[in-house]
């Protein structure tokens, strides 16, 4: 057995509850450093909410978690996989980490049920019957049991986003990432999507989400992270919004509410 494995073993044991660990993570696009030393932990069953001004690096941080961006420095461990080391199995990682985007990105040529079944069928190779059952189950979970046969263009934005969430759930991920999933929706539709996320949180799903909905952030967050200029500027429970310690967060909250 090699030395690094032995050295890592105790750490892994105490890590059991840590799903994501950023340690001084850096990320640059060309010469522009977008993440400038982020340290952050996400624990199983927790909802971590990233807030911050546009361009502060929230999406980039989120996208690092499932390997959509590769980091340039520091250490990033997700579900026990070291993303800072070469040769990460991204496909294995992505079976454990789901993501939902602002723009839904449903496959327009497939029905809601087919959107949901595609990855379980092709990646996990489950049978068609099992897949149908699974689609029924996850669509019901997001309140769209009756829309299984609808195509995306027949659905409202809120319904499309809920199908996208169901599509993610169908892979039974250990962690789901949400990047401003309600930003394209009007307030009424925003509410229906947020309620789905809230229910997932109550069900114990581990989630990291970026949102501009401050009220929602405060109510749902177990951990609230205010990002500023590519760093974690302030972090804590949802209460940090009520009592900001830094002028930047105070100003951000002042603008946001």
């Amino acid at each position: 057995m090699d030395a690094t494995l032995i050295a890592d073993a105790p750490a892994a044991a105490t890590d059991r509850e840590t799903m994501v660990r950023f340690e001084d993570v850096r990320k640059a696009f060309g010469t522009v450093e977008v993440l400038r030393g982020i340290s952050l932990e996400v624990h199983r069953g927790d909802v971590t909410v990233l807030i911050g001004r546009s361009g502060s690096g929230k999406s980039t941080a989120l996208r690092c978690i499932n390997g959509l961006e590769t980091i340039n420095g520091g250490r990033l461990t997700v579900c026990g996989r070291k993303l800072h080391e070469p040769g990460v199995d991204l496909r294995a990682l992505r079976q454990e980490v789901g993501i939902v985007f602002q723009s839904y990105n449903l496959f327009p040529h497939l029905t809601a049920a087919q959107n949901v079944m595609l990855a379980p069928r092709k990646v996990k190779r489950i049978g068609i019957r099992e897949a149908r059952e699974l689609a029924r189950e996850v669509l019901a979970q997001v309140g769209l049991a009756d829309k299984a046969e609808a195509y995306p263009e027949q659905l409202s934005g809120g319904q499309q986003q809920r199908v996208a969430i169901a599509r993610s759930l169908a892979m039974h991920p250990r962690l789901i990432l949400f990047d401003e999933v309600t930003s394209a929706l009007d307030p009424e539709l925003t509410g229906e999507v947020l309620r789905v996320i809230e229910r997932l949180a109550q069900g114990g799903m581990t989630m990291v989400l970026v949102t501009h909905e401050m009220g929602f952030a405060r109510s749902v967050a177990d951990q609230l992270v205010f990002m500023h200029q590519g760093t974690v500027w302030e972090a804590g429970s949802g209460d940090i919004l009520r009592d900001p310690q830094t002028p930047e967060l105070r100003q951000f909250v002042g603008n946001g509410l």
Binding site: F101, N105, F107, L118, A119, S168
Partner: protein
Amino acid sequence: MSYEFDFAFLDEYGPELLRGVWLTLGMTAASVLPGFLLGTLCAVGRLYGPPWVRRVAIVYVEAIRNTPLVIQVFWLFFGLAVLQVRIGAFPAAVLALVINVGAYTAEIMRAGFESIPKGQVEAASCLALTRSQVIWGVQLPQAVERVYPALVSQFVLMMLATSIMSQISAEELTGVAYQIQAFTFRGFEVYLVIAGIYVALAAALRLVLLGCATVAFPRRRRLGTPL
């Protein structure tokens, strides 16, 4: 000016005309699917293949798109003869058509693949699909749907282009027409009839290809969206 139309050749040469129609149809039918497959493979190779595949695809597409079909046909026909490969006029014609239409199809399909929003591909790979599952399962169906009208036009053009195949003695419709007018000296009438037949064949081909679309694109069928 008075001109006496004379369509008497229709009776006498009816069977020949029919044989010409069948040959034209046969060449077209035999070329559509292989041409589509070749073009799609080239488009995918050019977009996502390793560098050498990209280069091969580019050379092929550009060589075909910048030379006349009739030269490609001769080159193939006589080239094969030089290599001592004996194939009949019909297989040679079909082979040439497939190679020709494949290059145009490649460009059409490439545009189709490129028109799919990046977010689709990103979402698919975030669901742990492999690169090739994304290409064939997510991108291809959407790409075909988007460029289908252009594909239909291309295949109609290909059918019309079969009219040069009598040059290698595949006596399709135009070749038959040439012979009939040589015997009857009724060129005007003959080519009028032939033009009418091509119009009908083109309409039929469009109809068949649109029929394929309703089978291939269930969403269009369900939502009643025209192509």
